[in-house]
């Protein structure tokens, strides 16, 4: 089903968007929903910056000699692409936008535990972002997003210091968000909202927050040390002064491997919400999906050195880290199997969020499975730092996490704005994205196995055919991103009125008007039902008679 007849729905007279007016009421707001929208705007901004760099990368690689820029500039392009996309788009995207908006509503709270700190984290994000933009605009930086020493700390002539500072500062934004989420989940739940009634999205955010608070400080101190080393010519990671460059990698990946789960866990949470809603049945294996989120967050901390198999790390360490990398794959497998099983005997609709969710499963599957190739010691000797790695992580991060994010945006768009987007266009966009994505990144697996190194501004001519395919795909992909941008913006004004529960969904967020009032609920809800339970929810107006569903909230 898509739009319920708009006539029966009305926008609430007062909601969080129109409760107060003026720019100050936004910049000084402590309402988690407004802060989420501030994040939405800033995160989108960085996505476009990163996307513009990606576009230039792909155009440049059309020709073996490089089409567009000098090698020096090319190096800056992929570095800035990685930094913008990872630290300023993907890591904050789902937690700070969707998580911020939904987490308090989903557990029946009026706001996060620390609303002012929430606003503060957005400002910290902005300050960090400004540093990074400053570094981009004063010559850019060319260290790769991994900032490996001693290249970054001694040899690079580019604007490393402001960029490192920017990422350092941005870390505190993540930390505060994570802190806020954890405390909120612990202490702010509505009566009746027990741990095992939490929506899986909340579980995923909780797991993500564990990584935020225990991992992020490490990248902060590491980059601080690298920055100090650069500015004061110290020797922590510089072998010429007795330091050890591999130590930097250990510290960097201690955070940055778990950080990949920061990016995927929230998307997994989104998928776990979308699938039961559009299959209209309880999720299969609730506790396994919830538990696997926590398992991924914890075990994810034990595998970091799988990025270092060929640095000369000890053989024994490599064996340990490889084995543990295989263990961390199991909880992901559990999720995939449970999502698939949820479809069985469902009542599946073809609405846009569902298309994204299924696309997510397929692409995450390929991305995750190719992680198994890389975690394999013998194979990683060959694959390390080739385009195979590039393809692997774009499959997970673009095909998985970004798809999850965009799908989630579509799913909750009616809640956020109170309006419906044009369904037909949205489906077209979803399919365009899926096809464009595969054309862009599948050839890169082959390129990688053939041995094409990553971060190459020019390459041997035998690799050209596959590169051209990839660039062609990227242009389709860009179109796929442009479309939602346009119609979602359009729908804010012209979209049909959504009503409180258009799909209908079972969570608490669907039991309050769209858009919700500032304090989220007119009366504090009391939870008496199990999650994703359609059978005991007469209020949803579904089932039995088979009569057309007229969704209406109960408040």
């Amino acid at each position: 089903m898509s739009a319920t007849p708009a006539a029966v729905n009305q926008m609430p007279r007062e909601h969080y968007l129109n409760a107060t007016w003026g720019i100050r009421s936004w910049l000084l707001t402590t309402d988690h929903k407004r802060i989420a929208l501030l994040y939405l705007a800033s995160v989108t901004f960085f996505f476009f910056i990163g996307g513009a760099f990606a576009t230039m990368i792909r155009i440049h690689l059309l020709s073996p000699k490089g089409l567009l820029v000098t090698p020096e500039t090319y190096n800056k392009l992929f570095t800035m692409h990685g930094v913008a996309m990872i630290f300023f788009f993907l890591i904050p995207s789902i937690p700070a936008v969707l998580g911020n908006f939904l987490l308090p509503i989903m557990i029946g709270a009026k706001d996060l535990a620390f609303p002012k700190i929430n606003l503060l984290s957005w400002y910290i994000y902005l300050v960090g972002g400004c540093f990074v933009l400053y570094s981009f605009s004063t010559g850019g930086l060319d260290t790769g997003w991994t900032f490996y020493t001693p290249l970054s700390s001694v040899y690079s002539n580019s604007a490393v210091t402001p960029a490192v500072l920017g990422v350092f500062i941005n870390g505190f934004s993540s930390i505060l968000t994570g802190l806020n989420f954890i405390v909120t989940v612990h202490t702010m739940r509505a009566p009746g909202m027990t741990w095992f009634r939490l929506p899986l999205f909340v579980w995923a955010q909780y797991a993500t927050s564990i990584i935020f608070i225990l991992g992020t400080p490490v990248i902060a101190i590491t980059l601080l040390l690298a920055g100090l080393e650069r500015v004061f010519h110290l020797g922590f990671f510089n072998p010429a002064l007795g330091g050890d460059p591999i130590l930097f990698q250990h510290l960097f990946w201690f955070y940055s491997h778990p950080a990949v789960y920061i990016m995927i866990l929230p998307a997994m949470g989104v998928i776990s919400e979308i699938i039961p809603t559009f299959a209209r049945k309880p999720i299969f294996g609730y506790s396994f999906i919830a538990g696997s989120s926590i398992a991924i967050a914890v075990i994810g901390f034990f595998v970091w050195a799988h990025h270092m198999f060929v640095t000369g790390e000890s053989t024994y360490a490599a064996l340990t880290f490889s084995l543990l990398s295989y263990l961390v794959a199991i909880p992901s497998a559990v999720k995939v199997f449970n999502w698939t099983s949820t479809l069985y005997k469902g009542s599946i609709s073809y609405d846009t969020p569902m298309l994204y969710a299924l696309g997510f499963i397929g692409l995450f599957l390929i991305g995750g499975l190719t992680g198994l190739f890389l975690a394999c010691l013998g194979l990683d000797i060959h694959l390390h730092d080739t385009y195979f790695v590039i393809a692997h992580f774009h499959y997970i991060m673009v095909g998985g996490a970004v798809m999850g994010y965009v799908g989630g945006l579509h799913y909750w768009w009616p809640k956020i704005t109170g309006k419906l987007y044009p369904e037909f266009l949205a489906r077209i966009a979803a399919i365009t994205l899926f096809l464009g994505f595969n054309l862009t990144f599948f050839p890169q697996f082959i390129l990688g196995y053939l041995g094409m190194p990553r971060r190459y501004a020019s390459y041997p001519p035998e690799f050209q055919v596959l590169n051209v395919m990839s660039t062609a795909g990227a242009s389709i992909l860009a179109l796929g991103y442009l479309l939602p941008m346009i119609y979602l913006t359009w729908s804010m004004r012209y979209g049909a009125i959504a009503g409180p529960n258009p799909w209908p969904g079972t969570g608490l967020e669907w039991r309050t008007p769209s858009p919700p009032p500032t304090e989220n609920f007119d009366v504090t809800p009391e939870v008496t039902w199990e999650p994703y339970d359609y059978d005991n929810r007469p209020d949803l107006g579904l089932d039995v008679s088979g009569a057309p569903a007229l969704a209406h909230g109960d408040d």
Binding site: D111, L179, I182, V183, M188, L234, G235, G243, L247
Partner: protein, 217 residues
């Protein structure tokens, strides 16, 4: 209204509000642990690579200052704990005095620290261009000793920064306590800043043996 800590609108009960603040503080401290962890890791590796130079470099810092500072800081932890106790039992006068005592001890610590830093400056032991471990030391010895001192200044510097922030928080607490804001029912800021202060103390408890006590025999 603001006197005794009103209920913020996002909470349902005062009890909930207090628990939330305490949990938030603890989680913040756990991120602090991991923040220092990066330094401890760097320290561990470098010390195990250059044990002899680390021990020689450690001997150039004055043990007595470090020991005195340990006593001072633990003393300030005691007064802080007493301050929390005073606020819990409603002894408003005592609270103010304990807070002032904590602040004084903290300042003494920072004062001694700056004397030590000054000594190091005189001895050319500040990492950077003018670094010179011993007259005539060869380049490699210099570099490795500089590693020790980079860590010394990194770790104690970060610690001192925490102390300075703590001192600022104490000043604020003292002001509020003079206004009589804290009662047995409402003393969350005292408790939380107390937690922070003790954490800073704990960091020092590790820094002292690691930096001052290498092979003092």
């Amino acid at each position: 209204m603001h006197r005794t800590g009103e209920l913020y609108e996002q909470y349902r009960t005062l009890e909930q509000q207090r628990e939330t603040a305490s949990l938030g503080m603890w989680i913040f401290l756990s991120t602090e642990v991991l923040f220092f962890a990066g330094l401890f890791m760097t320290y561990t590796l470098n010390r195990s690579t250059y044990p002899d130079i680390f021990s020689e470099a450690s001997k150039t810092i004055k043990l007595s200052w470090g020991a005195i500072n340990t006593v001072v800081l633990i003393g300030s932890s005691l007064t802080m704990a007493m301050a929390v106790w005073a606020s819990q039992t409603g002894k408003k006068k005592a609270l103010t005095w304990f807070l002032i005592a904590t602040l004084v001890l903290g300042t003494v610590f920072l004062g001694i620290k700056s004397v030590e830093y000054h000594d190091k400056y005189v001895e050319h032991h500040i990492p950077g261009w003018n670094f010179q471990f011993e007259p005539g030391a060869d380049a490699a010895t210099n570099a490795h000793a500089q590693l020790f001192f980079s860590l010394y200044f990194g770790m104690t510097g970060l610690h001192a920064l925490h102390m300075i922030i703590g001192a600022g928080l104490l000043l604020w607490l003292i002001r509020e306590s003079l206004r009589g804001r804290f009662t047995p029912e409402y003393n969350t800021p005292v408790e939380n800043i107390g937690l922070y202060w003790h954490f800073v103390d704990i960091v020092w408890i590790f820094l002292f043996p690691l930096l001052y006590l290498i092979d003092r025999h």
